[in-house]
Subunit: 211 residues, 4 copies
Amino acid sequence: MRQPRTTRTRNAEDSKERILRAATKLFAKSGFDGARVDEIAKAAKINKQLIYHHFGNKDKLFTAVLEQAYRSIREQEAALDLSGLHADEAVLSLVEFTWKYYLANPDFIRLLNSENQLEARHLKGSPNTRSINKSHMVLMESLIARGKKEKRIRPDLEPMQLSINISALGFFYLMNRHTLSTVFERDLTSPRHLAKRLEGMKDLISRWIRP
Amino acid sequence: MRQPRTTRTRNAEDSKERILRAATKLFAKSGFDGARVDEIAKAAKINKQLIYHHFGNKDKLFTAVLEQAYRSIREQEAALDLSGLHADEAVLSLVEFTWKYYLANPDFIRLLNSENQLEARHLKGSPNTRSINKSHMVLMESLIARGKKEKRIRPDLEPMQLSINISALGFFYLMNRHTLSTVFERDLTSPRHLAKRLEGMKDLISRWIRP
Amino acid sequence: MRQPRTTRTRNAEDSKERILRAATKLFAKSGFDGARVDEIAKAAKINKQLIYHHFGNKDKLFTAVLEQAYRSIREQEAALDLSGLHADEAVLSLVEFTWKYYLANPDFIRLLNSENQLEARHLKGSPNTRSINKSHMVLMESLIARGKKEKRIRPDLEPMQLSINISALGFFYLMNRHTLSTVFERDLTSPRHLAKRLEGMKDLISRWIRP
Amino acid sequence: MRQPRTTRTRNAEDSKERILRAATKLFAKSGFDGARVDEIAKAAKINKQLIYHHFGNKDKLFTAVLEQAYRSIREQEAALDLSGLHADEAVLSLVEFTWKYYLANPDFIRLLNSENQLEARHLKGSPNTRSINKSHMVLMESLIARGKKEKRIRPDLEPMQLSINISALGFFYLMNRHTLSTVFERDLTSPRHLAKRLEGMKDLISRWIRP
DNA sequence: GATGAATGAGCCTTCATTCAT
DNA sequence: AATGAATGAAGGCTCATTCAT
């Protein structure tokens, strides 16, 4: 006979979410190596052992954080309504979305940065990642296909290169803003510089994708 | 002609260099947090305490490594002979140089990556960095000035944006090659893909800088 | 009647006590700087990290040790029954108690000695110390007040000076016994010398406090 | 054939003295364990190895410091002219001298304190100490002898007890001033408290030594 | 006599993880 | 599900001392 559970139980789902939120913040702040399991537990206001209970270990926790981060950006991206736009305009719209997403979610860049330093060892073990990014690939391909038909996108454009370039220009700028600000002796994150950067990127991409 | 050094007392210069070389390798491999002073000492085949004797602490050692890394790329860049080329060709030549430098010196990307994760805290405390990057800034400016005179570079191009874009496209691709390879399910570092990427970047930059 | 403790989860209280006991011994033996956290852990038969888990760091551990030491002597002092004695006799009784406490608890002297070398930096950060010593101050004051009424203690005697002199004569003798034994070429800790010292101190104090 | 020494030689005696001065200061400040050979070398503005060259090791250096400290107080004490005073007055004069010496040379107390914590291990190995303290013993004995003849000092007073008590009252007060100030919640080192303490000690000793 | 380079051992502290309840 | 206690293995850094010149 199963013993009647006392109502003390705190809701596992809630705990997991709290852990995930705290872990995201701290992995983003300090990187995988720099973040401390203790800190995450404290920030999540749960017992440290619960992390191990729910996620197994630090690596698996990081993997979960990464997957969630990817899922989030891809979901928002998929929710964009680009149907009223010409393909080239849609691409520029995507440049803007991506840039703004990075700005609104600085954690995303830092998480990816850390993962890359680790040579994607978590992502490589995650079978979910590909399916998560599937929608993104489909989007790239369909935009290019549409653009070709519309004759507003050059026929030799490749989905992967497009995707990478859209990310690269904004990602690099934001990720390296600290070293760049030091080298160039100005604050790259001022509103003026940010606005200018977005314009510059759109200009660049637009010249590049035209037939 | 420089005087031949008498075999200096247990050769401090040599030790420092060995430490620096080992530190570069290991900081690049594991990042600042991930690298271990013990490992660096072992790799440099010197006693751990010697690192502290010569460099003070792990942070100062990392700063020295970073400065040397910047000095190296800037020296090679400054050594390029771009005088026989039109300004736009020179820019493309620079794209190629930068890309090839990244490929030949994968440590550079990883070091910068780690430093950015730390919000450039070492660079910010290093007064040498700016002077080291001075030549680069001068180069950007002079190329643009020349290009405008030659009417081969659009008049509204800014040195910093040019510099950043030249770096961004290659840097992002290489730095994120592990996550991207996973997401796009192909090996981005195959010779074929690398060659294609260089062509793509030159094409993109060339379309962007033209008047 | 206290409730019997259910065998508490791996008994934290017991661990803390074991640590405290070992720390007292080793801090007394080697002083704050000389004592090793490793040794303390080993002597307490617990894992070193547990010290940090329970006490935070070496300084906080030393503070805890000091507080306990003060608490111990003050508790025993407070337990003395001096009510049947005249005030001057009570003071002499206190001289004897103090001396015997020092002899029975050589750690106490050595701990205070170390703390004084550190300019009381632990005590200064401990808000408990004053309350712990409160009972002692009250005792001094009440004895003097009583003695004045009884006309067996001179009216100009001050509590602090009384307290200090009672401690000083025994404390100095015992603390410096090693250097003094060397200088005076005899063993100050032989039973004969100890007995003589106690008599001498009582004589000295008794002459001093009489009206 | 010996090579002619260049005049570069810096005067060994001067170096030794500089080392000794720096060592006294730092051993007093931090105790034997707490003081660092590096710091001493730096404070003495000489090369660290020179300390080993001149003194052998840290322990021997500490021994030298201790011996010098004893020599200094005994020399000044021996230089006192007590001939014009009655023996009891001379003793009080000695109480005052000792107190003032402690105040003017706080290092002395701290050095002895550290040495006592180490159970006089340096002094025990130093054959010089006894001869250095010889004059002090002689002084004690002669004062008591004189006092007895003069009938101004009680006949049962012992030289060692006299010596110890003269030291103890001032030494304890000053050495423990940090802990005492905390416990008694007042500044024991204020001029007023210091003056009062001296008077108190003279009063106490004077009552004690009278026949 | 004097110096800077070099070292082995060890110190305090921290970390991810597991145990016992 | 949830918790606090407990641990083995480092990790950065320091210390007294010695080497080589």
